[in-house]
């Protein structure tokens, strides 16, 4: 995710552009920049880090600006740096582009342009757009050049472009990434979301996928990629300016829970190789032959990432038949810390700065292990230390309790497991079914979010408890751990996750009417056993809230409430099952008056051991 902003009109252009991207900073904040149009030229300013004031020299230079475009970045290609910050320009500096999204075919385009002598200054996919437009531009018809360039691009984008030859105009394009625009006759403004436009006007036009247009204060003209005119009516935005950083949600946690259908898509984008029924994971730097030489995998992680690692273990072992060990990073670092010969070490960390994980990773490397990282933050310490791995592309996670990063980790681990399994001989039909199931996830996640009222009821029932149990088997055992952790983190109710089969080996002594148990029973393989566990709890007077597969009535007569998950392979059940557990924790915390986004005693990224 990044934030893009454009403005043409009166006023202090630099302040307006800066304020615009500051309002979008929740979308990304590792670097920023702007390009202002001045008589006959463009001036560009870029910096690494959060949005701040610009240099006095640039201020003096840009006093005659008529407008411009600005960007706040969440890196996807190329580390956060001034060089990789947007806007990106063509070789002449007369065309500037800001972009939110991922251009999936940027590498062949970049190679083709380089072969024609085009000089590249950054590592980004965005720079390709500027050079492509310049390549097609004949000096007179910018619209034709823009359209031609858009037709060549594959992937997601929201683009704002400006050209020194076309003062007073901003050119826009959208495919999958959001983009809104507005104009009143006196000014024109465009942004990644309406929150940055609302200070100017509440009447905005939402561009559709596959549309591009020219924005001026006197009007917005839109076309589709077939070059047919498109008419769109402006809609009136009804949320408060103060809400806009959270996109209208009361808390970042709730916003990020609701982002999951999109973040699941982002985690898979460009990685589903349907042609070969596998996952395309070039970032790993692993050939099929290297995979077949592997004898084991070791996962190092902390907290929620450790839970994701446990689910990853079940996936890899069942699909690729490779043994997997999962270590708490600190336990590995200060324990025996064995690294297997012919093994692979995978470090999982959302922020990429978790001190325990970083230290464990360095110890594994010291012993000669081959390492991969699974992180959300591009260019983070774990990413740099590993040098190879997979990014989540989930965008910044600002809520302290991890939600969307967890499900994105599970999606990435699913792809990793598929990649390993296919190299180790998984049949084509199984792989095709798994890919079909992965592609169905975003819509299924959306369906789960529509049931949030059901989870509120469960949260209300649990909010008065002092303790809670979460039980599950196989893939849902680590999910039980995660559900318990979420409840602890944000509502401060003590909760414990245990394997359901272990209940009878001690913890069942805790069951009484004051101890609610959340039963995770959506997997088909272990349904009978879970039903038995529920009967054991009920016969001791315990309260049960169950998560079951749609169409399964095994718990209807036994549980106080049953939440239904859409049908999915057992391995993917936790991705959907996490959503109601996150919402239960959220609503329970709300009811108890807890600070959901800033729970006591916690920090987002634990950078101490």
């Amino acid at each position: 995710m990044c934030g893009i902003f454009g403005y043409v009109g009166q006023g202090d252009i630099l302040d307006i552009l800066t304020e615009g991207i500051r309002r979008l900073e929740y979308r990304g904040y590792d670097s920023w920049g702007l390009a202002v149009g001045r008589p006959g030229t463009l001036s560009v300013f870029r910096r690494k880090g959060r949005v701040e004031g610009m240099s006095p020299e640039f201020r003096r230079e840009a006093t005659d600006a008529w407008g411009g475009i600005a960007h706040t970045r969440w890196a996807t290609h190329g580390e956060p740096s001034e060089r990789n910050a947007h806007p990106h320009t063509d070789a002449t500096g007369r065309i500037a582009v800001v972009h939110n999204g991922v251009i999936e075919n940027f590498e062949p385009l970049r190679s083709a342009l380089k072969a024609k002598g085009v000089p590249f200054k950054s590592d980004t996919d965005t720079e390709v757009i500027a050079h492509l437009i310049a390549r097609f531009y004949d000096g007179a018809n910018l619209r034709a050049a823009f359209l031609k360039a858009l037709r060549v691009l594959d992937g997601a984008y929201a683009i704002a472009m400006t050209c020194a030859d076309c003062p007073g105009e901003i050119w826009l394009a959208r495919n999958s990434s959001p983009l809104v625009a507005a104009q009143t006759g006196e000014f024109a403004v465009a942004a990644s979301d309406a929150g940055a436009v609302v200070p100017f006007t509440r009447d905005v036009v939402y561009l559709g996928d596959g549309e591009f247009g020219r924005l001026r204060p006197d009007g917005l003209m839109l076309w589709n990629l077939a070059d047919e005119p498109v008419e769109r009516e402006a809609k009136t935005v009804d949320f408060d300016v103060a809400d806009m950083d959270r996109g209208g949600y009361t808390h970042f946690m709730l916003k990020e829970i609701h982002e999951q259908p999109q973040t699941i898509v982002n985690a898979m984008r460009g990685r589903l190789d349907r042609a070969n029924a596998t996952a395309r994971l070039d970032g790993l730097g692993l050939t099929e032959s290297a995979v077949r030489d592997l004898r084991s995998v070791r996962i190092l992680a902390c907290g929620t990432s450790w839970h994701a690692g446990l689910i990853g273990r079940s996936m890899i072992e069942s699909m690729a038949r490779l043994p997997v060990h999962v270590d708490y990073a600190a336990e590995f670092r200060y324990g025996a810390g064995l690294v297997e010969r012919d093994g692979l070490v995978v470090a999982i960390s959302q922020s990429g700065e978790t001190a325990d994980t970083l230290a464990a990773l360095r110890e594994a490397k010291r012993q000669g292990a081959r390492v991969e990282g699974i992180c959300n933050v591009v260019g983070s310490s774990v990413a740099r230390e590993c040098g190879a791995g997979l990014y989540l592309h989930a965008g910044p996670e600002l809520g302290v309790a991890s939600t969307k990063a967890f499900t994105s980790q599970l999606v990435v681990l699913s792809l990793f497991s598929l990649f390993l399994a296919r190299a180790c001989g998984m049949p084509l039909s199984e792989a095709v079914r798994f890919l079909d199931a992965l592609e169905a996830l975003p819509e299924q996640a959306e369906a789960m979010l529509k049931k949030s009222a059901d989870t509120e009821g469960i949260a209300h029932a649990m909010s008065g408890a002092r303790n809670a149990l979460y039980i599950g088997r196989q893939y849902e055992y680590p999910l039980a751990l995660e559900g318990a952790l979420k409840l602890k983190e944000v509502s401060y109710i003590h909760a414990e996750g245990i394997p359901a089969a272990e209940l009878k080996h001690g913890p069942i002594a805790l069951i009484d009417p004051e101890m609610p148990t959340v039963v995770l029973g959506a997997q088909s393989a272990v349904l009978d056993k879970m039903t038995t566990n529920v009967r054991e709890i009920r016969s001791r007077g315990g309260r049960v809230f169950a998560v079951a597969r749609e169409g399964c009535d095994a718990f209807d007569a036994l549980a106080e409430r049953v939440l239904a998950l859409p049908s999915a392979p057992d391995a993917l059940t936790p991705i959907l099952g996490a959503i109601p557990l996150q919402l239960i924790a959220y609503y329970a915390a709300l009811e108890r008056g807890c600070d959901v986004d800033r729970p006591r005693n916690l920090a987002k990224s634990v950078t101490v051991e």
Partner: protein, 405 residues
């Protein structure tokens, strides 16, 4: 319904079965997939390796495809009459589907029309990209050289039954079916109690020959006097068969005229096995036969597997082929064959010599052998053999392996 028989990127793993012929022209269980497709579908197109097309389009012409539902069938699909019938049934429903086998697309129905510019390198991945719903059943394909024998035994009787039902044959004796102008010597013994014996047009069975069904003898082929041809043997047309043969496939124009055993094997076209040539189809340990394929050793899953001999290969007198060996195209064998043999290889390992058969020598041999059967060697035939020589060049690195028994 139109059907396209397509080779894919896995076709080459079948080794010499397909070096000089398209995968849909490999005989298994009496028939080839091309003929089975012709019987079932109105229009048959093909996607095969470029170098095969000029020769193969003569024998296996391809029809022009139209828009409309198109059934893609992997050219390596086991030509089981039941499988082809099942595919036709699925296709007649008109709804897109895909059937797989292991790592291969076995079949797929595209409701909207054929893929433009399909090639063996891209057709399977393009079919996978269409995200067709998967059929519940897998459809077996011939993936490794030994699979042709394995599936041959499984489908032989079914396919022979289909052949008999075609109505081309007359039942001359109980369960003995003959085509036109078939001659059977009075002293020949035909046992059809265990399965039918089918002798196609102009086949000859000479004196004191012993035939045990189920078996098939192709048009114009001769079963030599005193030979013993037993169950699950399929002989192509214009062959001469002597000695002892069981559970084997012999393609058109091949000769095994004299004594010697051939069992659980596949012999390509234009092969000559000299007198006394025998193969082993059972290990001394009675264990599973493991076969070298592409540098790996692959368990065949079979206790009985003899050998695969590619088109145009020759065996000198008394050649002895050990269990589970794969012999390439245009190979010449002498003595004991204890390893796989690359294409275009003079294999006299037990005499301390392994060298290359030059392409010119191979072309001369082809020309001479063709002439004996009144077949004219065309420029397309030459071009095909040259292309096979180039395509198999990498195999001959094996000719440099250390020489020992």
């Amino acid at each position: 319904m139109q059907c396209v028989l397509f080779e894919d990127s896995f076709t080459r793993d079948s080794g010499p079965l397909v070096s000089a012929r398209p995968a849909f022209a490999v005989t298994c269980g009496v028939s080839i997939l091309y003929e089975a497709a012709r019987r079932r579908f109105d229009t048959v197109g093909t996607v095969m390796r470029d170098y095969l097309a000029p020769v193969c389009n003569r024998s296996f012409p391809a029809d022009e495809l139209q828009t409309g539902p198109t059934l893609y069938v992997n050219a390596s699909l086991v030509p089981d009459a039941a499988s082809v019938r099942r595919l036709a049934q699925l296709a007649d429903r008109g709804e897109g589907f895909m059937a797989t086998h292991g790592d291969r697309v076995a079949a797929a129905l595209l409701p909207d029309g054929p893929l433009p510019d399909a090639s063996p390198e891209n057709v399977a991945s393009r079919l996978l990209e269409t995200k067709l719903p998967l059929a519940s059943e897998e459809m077996p394909t011939i993936d490794y050289p030994f699979d042709v024998v394995k599936y041959h035994l499984e489908i032989f009787e079914r396919n022979l039954g289909t052949l008999i039902e075609s109505g081309r044959f007359t039942e001359r004796a109980k369960n003995v079916y003959v085509g036109k102008d078939v001659s059977i010597a009075e002293t020949a013994v035909l046992h059809a109690e265990e399965g039918p014996i089918v002798l196609d047009d102009n086949a000859r069975v000479m004196d004191f020959a012993y035939l045990m069904g189920p078996l098939y003898v192709g048009k114009g082929s001769r079963i030599i006097e005193r030979s013993s041809v037993k169950e699950h043997v399929a002989v192509g047309h214009t062959c001469k068969i002597g000695g002892e043969v069981e559970a084997s496939i012999i393609e058109d124009y091949s000769n095994k005229q004299h004594h010697g055993f051939l069992g659980h094997s596949y012999v390509g076209s234009w092969v000559n096995l000299g007198a006394g040539t025998s193969n082993s189809d059972l290990k001394n340990t009675y264990g599973e036969v493991r076969v070298g394929v592409g540098g790996r050793v692959v368990p065949s899953g079979m206790q009985f597997f003899g050998c695969v001999i590619g088109d145009y290969s020759k065996a000198a007198i008394n050649t002895s082929i050990f269990t589970g060996k794969v012999i390439g195209v245009c190979a010449v064998l002498y003595g004991f064959v204890t390893t796989n043999v690359p294409s275009f290889c003079n294999y006299a390992r037990s005499f301390g010599q392994v060298s290359e058969v030059s392409i010119e020598t191979a072309l001369q041999m082809q020309k001479r052998m063709f002439k004996r059967r009144d077949v004219v060697q065309t420029p397309e035939d030459e071009a095909l053999l040259r292309a096979v020589y180039e395509a198999t060049r990498d195999e001959r690195g094996m000719a440099a392996e250390p020489l020992s028994l």
